[in-house]
Homo-oligomer: 380 residues x 2
């Protein structure tokens, strides 16, 4: 079942049913898996110009086209489009909604074919490797054997790392932005706060809210607010908001007195309009479970040694405290030890983790240079 | 109405009704105010050896004696006692539960004398200055005109700063640990997450839960979990927990798989047994409203200039990201500009904000030296 539409001549969006059951890291099997995706640009005759862009925790397949839920122009239009870094005149860009997501790919809000009801918490726990496995199957079904590049930031970078570990022969280059090879204790801790906030909401109903026609909106909003703080740097928050008030004078109450409070509340409220609470639980769990080295007895270089022929570009941002530069350095050291080509830049920015989503000239220049060189080597 | 008991010959604990109404920064007046307090040691004949120790957000008056709620030995026994830094053989230590608290001082869970019901959200919003004003009245009623020292960490340091601004003639020395002269945007943001978590709990009931015999325990636990992350450093979390599991293998579910999850859940659960949700709202609000410079048109040095004769000791901890060293430097620069004596040490520690509560030899040495010198100058 492929539903395809073409919002523009060089764009498609659709949902593809994987042609085989999906074996999961948990040992479980998902019999019917749909993956929602968008493409931008055209596959060349050699089928050698495909680029997979992987999204972060709350992203989706609408990387550079209007998101139908929000009506906004995708999450990375500054980087993807004609003449942009991920040049749709040159590359065939594919992006998918991750397994476990809520924008059309199979996830906990999908219908369990065995019961005809939403999965809820009976959906199996998934991993970053499961996400990449589903993507690899989709890419094959789209007729692409080898990707020119797999790219992603944050959780998208983890999927790209997993591609390098598991499918190095199916990729030529790999772009890793603001990411980490495993979740730290602090990363897990923040996610656990978010999950507890969702599960504390009585409208969560043990995960069965969809069957009961309710939504744990308050819990999900709190989860988003807590997470959002980690996406920004302290200096950026201070510069953007400081102690500026919403109105003249204090309310002497619990309204949003400070602009930063109002901003956070807005972030929470806007998020619940576009995201599913159970998807948030499952995807944060996948992140917490992520530890790329584990498959190689804890040796990251060994996990990445199959990717010795892949060209890597690793970028971190100086004020990112969610996945700080030290995590990128761990990746780069492992790539060096694995004998892979890795270029690495720490970009000076006070914008925190979310800098990778923004129009960041140094990031653009670094990626343009990397992709041009890799493209030339690949004959693109 | 003073209820006094003496758990040990050199300790008292009690609740004192202030002998006047308390004028609040909000413009409101609290007609009946009780302040719960403990004392340790004996007031000397000169009444010159009294030390006020101010507690942090979730602390209380049980600084060095058994907390009757938790059964645990106070929150700072390593620093307060015979022969310790705050030597109860030498000083008369006073600690109070802050105005707005829930350990005996008047706060939102107290009975509103006008209605005979718990105040709930009709309790007026209070400030750090209101807390200090109530303390100053209590200190007078205890027969102490001038304190040898006002000391505190975190929010306790803010009370000590407010003492220096408002009552410099009533103190000789001031100890400021891991504190800040105002709340940053990030500080406010984290508190707002906690407040939203509490107010999202349906058992909060618009703040009227006490009248209705329920408690917003889940929301309060989430608030505590989010805040607790900010009290620890990332390296300390990593060293203490890393990715260690609770059991062999993953649960492939949403139980606490990782030790850090279990630890956080425990922190949340233990907190709701000892703390009131509305007090959490009011005290975090007081912290967010805190901006010492505001009383002097935004010039911190001017706000502190009345304290030019007070001796200050300012200590920060290198891994404290809640109130980082940069905040202490702002205080020290303002004290220098105000012409006050200020010694300042940044202590190398990976233990984060909560380092000030721990047995930290460098902190102990620095404070011993400071208090010895100040005590000698004071003739103690």
């Amino acid at each position: 079942m492929t539903v395809l539409s073409s919002p523009r001549p060089d764009q498609t969006e659709g949902v593809l049913r994987l042609n085989q059951p999906l074996r999961l890291d948990s040992g479980q099997m998902l019999r019917e898996v749909d993956i929602a995706y968008c493409t931008y640009g055209h596959l060349n005759a050699d089928r050698s110009n495909a680029v997979l862009i992987c999204h972060a925790l709350t992203g989706d397949q609408y990387v550079a086209s209007t998101n139908p839920t929000t009506g906004r122009p995708g999450w990375w239009p500054v980087m993807v489009g004609p003449g942009r870094t991920f040049d749709t005149d040159r590359y065939f860009i594919i992006s998918t909604n991750v397994l476990g997501g809520c924008m059309g790919s199979t996830g906990p809000s999908s219908i369990d074919p065995d019961t005809g009801e939403p999965w809820g918490l009976s959906f199996p726990v998934i991993t970053i490797a499961d996400m990449a496995r589903a993507q690899a199957m989709l890419i094959s079904q789209l007729g692409v054997e080898t990707l020119f590049c797999v790219a992603g930031g944050s959780m998208g970078g983890m999927q790209a790392l997993e591609w390098a570990r598991a499918y190095p022969d199916r990729m030529y280059a790999c772009v890793l932005l603001a990411t980490a090879p495993r979740h730290s204790a602090q990363n897990i801790a923040f996610h656990e706060v978010g999950r507890q906030a969702i599960m504390a909401d009585p409208d969560w109903r043990g995960g069965d809210y969809a069957k009961l026609g309710v939504r744990p909106e308050k819990g999900l909003a709190v989860a988003r607010m807590a997470a959002h703080i980690t996406y920004l740097s302290e200096p950026a928050l201070q510069r953007k908001f400081g102690r500026e008030l919403q109105r003249d004078g204090l309310s002497w109450g619990f309204d949003a007195d400070f602009q930063v409070e109002s901003y956070l509340r807005h972030q929470g409220a806007a998020f619940v309009d576009r995201f599913d609470a159970n998807s948030y639980l499952y995807i944060t769990r996948a992140l917490d479970y992520f530890d790329l080295a584990q498959s190689a007895g804890g040796r990251l270089a060994d996990a990445l040694s199959p990717a010795a022929d892949v060209r890597f570009c690793v970028l971190s941002f100086s004020s990112d405290w969610l996945y700080p530069t030290s995590e990128s350095r761990v990746i780069v050291r492992a790539l060096n030890a694995a004998g892979a080509r890795a270029s690495f830049v720490e970009i000076e920015s006070d914008k925190g983790h979310d800098a990778f989503l923004l129009d960041e000239p140094v990031m653009r220049d670094a990626l343009n240079g990397f992709l041009d060189a890799a493209g030339a080597a690949r004959g693109l």
